[in-house]
Amino acid sequence: MARLAVIQFPGSNCEYETARAASKAGFDAKIVRWNFPADELAKFDAYILPGGFSYQDRVRAGAISAKLPVVGVLAEAAHEGKPILGICNGCQILAEAGLIPDLSGNQEVSVALARNVRDGQLLGFMCDWIFVKPQRPEKSLFMRYFLESDVLPIPINHGEGRFVLKPEVNVEDYASFVFCDSHGVVSDAANPNGSYLNLAGLSNQKGNVLAMMPHPERSAFSKQIPISIDSPWTAQKFEDVDGPWMKLFLAMREAA
């Protein structure tokens, strides 16, 4: 059974439901603390950095966690091709650690998650359900069950989720998730936080590291889908089946 480490940073707060979704997908999921011995951590087959507010978002969200020794283990694992998923605060940590998109393989930091802004207005924390669609799913091991035509409901819960990229990063080179409306149209109106090119998530070059701001673990079971959103998934709410995002964890497990 593939062994997954869900890394608990000081201030993580989504580790339990993330481990639950991953277990349902067939992982042997274990929550391990940030100070877990490096040699032991290196033995896992896959890693998830869960959501939360590690180190109180001091300096910038994810900035301090990205400097922890555990991130050295993750960099090595990324190099070896193991699947690594960062969700929300985990996404911010992967960006601050230079693990996405990792242009030249030397962990240069070229992505930042900035504060939510629309029309020049700071928005603060946002809790909402939005839609995303995969782009170039063939370039990511996480997206093997997704199609470019998919429109996937998912919640966002963040104050700093606006992707900002260095000019040399060409998004076309990577798999990504982008914000869209309920019909799959990618537009400014469907961009909740002012993210560059509507980016909601971004892969690394090799396709084994994925950083995403929305929460797939909160849309992994049909019962989690709110009844009031505009999605065919609401019809299955009470059927106790997998939600739209279980396939992400499944694909991750199969690759581990």
């Binding site: 608990q8 000081p10 201030g11 993580s12 707060n13 989504c14 339990y16 439901e17 639950r20 979704a21 603390r33 100070n35 959501g51 939360g52 507010f53 180190y55 109180q56 603060g124 924390f125 946002m126 809790c127 909402d128 919640p155 819960n157 929460h215 673990e217 909160r218 992994a220 079971f221 019962k223 989690q224 709110p226 009844i227 009031s228 959103i229 505009d230 009470f238 106790d240």
Partner: protein, 743 residues
């Protein structure tokens, strides 16, 4: 300090000497209204029903606990604490509201429970003609404060309510309730266990390093706010650190598991009002022991803090634990080494600060001197303040006749009601609150009357929660209590759950004023009567398992809040898949109004628009409410309804609008209503009731059930494919209704 000269001399008599400075501060806290309930205890005991066959732990410790469901051989319970943080939020709204959340969750964690959600009830003033801009600033910052704490802590905000009234201009209300999940066999108590008779026990302080914040907080919260004391008051507000709390909570999970594995008996209590002095003395007193604490062993954030500050400051994110000496090192290792707390925040962590003693004495030492030496009995001495109520006649029946008005005029009134901040969509507020962390949310805020979560992994039992209050207090203090309970119960019933427990937070003005004390007593009576009358278990009330009283919600200029009791009801639904939804989904559903409408408009939404001085508030008729609740519960359980929504503020008009618009205005169908009785009463009366929707297939069965019941009902119309609301001859596009509500 807030002790009266009479109380000071009472202390001297009790001790037979003058108290030391530290002791005086301790009495100031323990005898404050906030801690002692000295004005209100008798009334609460006289009226409130607190017992029930499902109560696992009644009022007395930090949280009350109600049995929820059995799963895999375990009896799962819900622990609830319900508190106010009004005064601090008026002075420093972000910190005040944030520590309101921080404090109430500690009450639940310290029972050994894991917090699964919080609810908030926020009452703000009205900035009329931009004359009171501070009111808006407070409202905005209170919302940020709640979000600043709950989101990082990782507890979902499972709903709330926001009310606006000019009486809150000088005193906002911030009430927060926290709900926790705990296995009944693993409840931890907040007193020294009896094992301390036979083996030495240490007192361990856990959490943030102690500083001077919140010094005098309990006493300040028990007084009338005075603008001239602003600087002192600011120091009395605590400072929040949800990040540190999250780490502590994770460490507590390891601690609780170790305690359970090794079968260790412990006592555990949070530090709230009065800081170390209150927590350490109460944990000892509760078990019949004493404690000997050395303040020099307290981890302090800054040097040279005065002993009374170390003893009484209300620094946040701290807990007090008593464990056998042999287990102490294990505890210290969990917090200081495994979770590296001293590396995360200056001098945070766990440290031994004293010992449990058999002598029932409360001793505090500082730099070699004894600064406090009190018999524990002196601390637990019942302190009482005699308060008097002046009765006044509250009109209960009305002969007021409402002039019938045209449909056009009704449409205008309706639009004003929907655009009123009290009835508008609260999405702009709750979008700041994470409502889905933990991954257990099923029905989200705004989607239905109550939020539903499935808190136990692998178990389909749903927990339904609602928090409610109203603006009837000015007209009828009894009704404000009774109606809050009745509405909260309806909200839980409307999703298909059975109410199992109630908590209350009673917000009033200065109890020394006989009028205010009358209001308070009436409110408590109303709550008690509703709990007694609306139970679901034969011959049992719905028990009140936790509560709080907040008095002196008035400013020195004399403006007091209207009586504002706030109620939480929690309910159980055996299987979340059987929940009933609020929004109308399909066309050709029959719509039925349940519950008689009365022309009682005091304090209602229409009364503020018509600006007419109606005298009688919407009465709560318990027999009618109970019959309606039982009926709706049965109909939902038998899957006979396709939608259900309760009637409260704004009446049938708001109910039907919300059923059409849903949480975010994504409409599915319209409705066509034919109303024959007085339009004003039918549409805008706020007496308790429901609107239900039924399929053609079920219509006959439901009508038959209604006919044989004691419930007043009326078929009012049906759903239609056109996206309009038609009342008799007037049609309003749903988009128009949505604009009123959203903009």
């Amino acid at each position: 300090m807030n002790l009266s000269s009479q109380e000071l001399s009472q202390i001297e008599t009790l001790l037979d000497r003058k108290p030391t400075l530290v002791e005086t501060y301790i009495f100031d806290t323990m005898w404050s209204e906030h801690c002692s309930y000295k004005s209100t205890k008798d009334t609460l005991k006289e009226f409130l029903p607190t017992k029930g066959s499902e109560v696992a732990l009644g009022i007395g410790e930090d949280s009350g606990i109600i049995r929820f469901t059995k799963h895999n051989g375990k009896q799962y319970c819900i622990a609830i604490s319900h508190e106010s943080h009004n005064h601090p939020s008026q002075i420093l709204p972000v910190e005040g509201a944030a520590t309101g959340v921080g404090g109430v969750v500690r009450d639940v964690y310290c029972m050994g429970a894991d917090v699964i959600g919080v609810l908030n009830s926020l009452h703000f003033g009205i900035n009329k003609d931009n004359q009171s801009p501070l009111v808006d600033e407070i409202a905005e910052n209170v919302v940020l404060g709640v979000s600043d704490y709950a989101n990082p802590l990782g507890v979902p905000v499972l709903g709330g309510e926001t009310l606006y009234h000019p009486s809150y201009n000088d005193n906002c209300l911030v009430n927060v309730a926290a709900l926790g999940l705990v296995d009944e066999a693993k409840i931890i108590h907040s007193f020294v266990p009896k094992e301390a008779e036979h083996e030495p026990y240490d007192v361990i302080l856990i959490g943030k390093s102690t500083d001077a914040t919140g010094f005098g907080g309990a006493s300040f919260s028990s007084a009338t706010l005075d603008k001239n004391d602003q600087a002192t008051n600011i120091g009395a507000v605590q400072v929040h650190d949800p990040f540190l709390k999250r780490v502590i909570v994770e460490a507590l999970k390891v601690l609780f598991k170790t305690i359970d594995d090794q079968k260790i008996s412990v006592g555990f209590k949070d530090l709230g009002a009065g800081g170390i002095s209150c927590a350490a003395s109460e944990i000892a007193v509760g078990g019949g022991f004493g404690v000997d604490v050395n303040l020099d062993h307290v981890n302090v954030a800054v040097d040279n803090l005065l002993p009374e500050v170390i003893a009484c400051s209300e620094t946040q994110e701290r807990f007090c634990l008593v464990v056998p000496e042999t287990f102490t090192q294990t505890v210290l290792d969990i917090f200081n080494i495994q979770f590296e707390m001293p590396k995360l925040y200056l001098k945070a962590g766990a440290s031994v600060i004293g010992k449990v003693t058999k002598a029932q004495q409360f001793i505090l030492r500082h730099k070699g001197e004894i600064v406090c030496n009190l018999p524990v009995t002196s601390i637990t001495t019942e302190v009482k303040a005699d308060r008097h109520a002046t009765d006044r006649q509250i009109p209960k029946t009305t002969t007021e006749i409402f002039p019938e008005i045209s449909l056009e005029k009704i449409q205008e009134i309706g639009s004003k009601i929907l655009s009123n901040p009290n009835n508008k969509s609260k999405r702009p507020i709750y979008r700041f609150f994470d409502n889905a962390v933990r991954g257990d949310s099923i029905l989200y805020p705004g989607e239905t009357d109550a939020v539903v979560v499935t808190p136990i992994e692998g178990c389909n039992t749903g927990l339904a929660v609602s928090i409610d209050s109203n603006l009837y207090g000015h007209h009828d203090p009894y009704v404000s209590g009774a109606a809050a309970v009745a509405e909260s119960i309806r909200n839980v019933i409307a999703v298909g759950a059975r109410p199992i427990a109630v908590t209350d937070c009673l917000n009033y003005g200065n109890p020394q004023k006989p009028d205010v004390f009358f209001d308070f007593r009436e409110g408590v009576k109303g709550i008690a009567d509703a709990c007694n009358a609306l139970g679901f278990i034969p011959n049992e009330p719905i028990p009140i398992i936790s509560g709080n009283v907040s008095l002196y919600n008035e400013s020195k200029t004399g403006s007091a809040i209207i009586p504002s009791p706030v109620i939480v009801v929690v309910g159980r639904i055996e299987d979340y898949r059987n929940v009933c939804l609020m929004q109308l989904q399909k066309e050709n559903q029959t719509l039925i109004l349940i519950g008689k409408r009365y022309a009682e408009f005091g304090g209602t939404q229409i009364s503020t628009i018509l600006n007419q001085p109606f005298s009688v508030a919407p009465q709560v008729r318990f027999d009618e409410e109970a019959a309606q609740n039982q009926l709706i519960h049965t109909l939902i359980t038998q899957k006979n309804l396709t939608a259900c929504h309760d009637i409260s503020a704004g009446g049938l008009w708001v109910t039907i609008t919300e059923m059409l618009l849903g949480e975010r205005g994504r409409t599915r169908v319209g409705a066509e209503l034919t109303l024959t009785d007085s339009l004003v009463t039918t549409l805008f009366s706020e007496n308790g009731g429901y609107v239900i929707a039924i399929n053609a297939d079920n219509k006959e069965t439901v009508i038959q059930t209604l006919k044989t019941s004691d419930v007043t009902y009326q078929e009012i119309g049906k759903t239609i494919p056109e996206k309009t609301l038609t009342i008799n001859s007037v049609s309003i596009p749903l988009t128009t209704l949505n604009n009123y509500r959203e903009n």
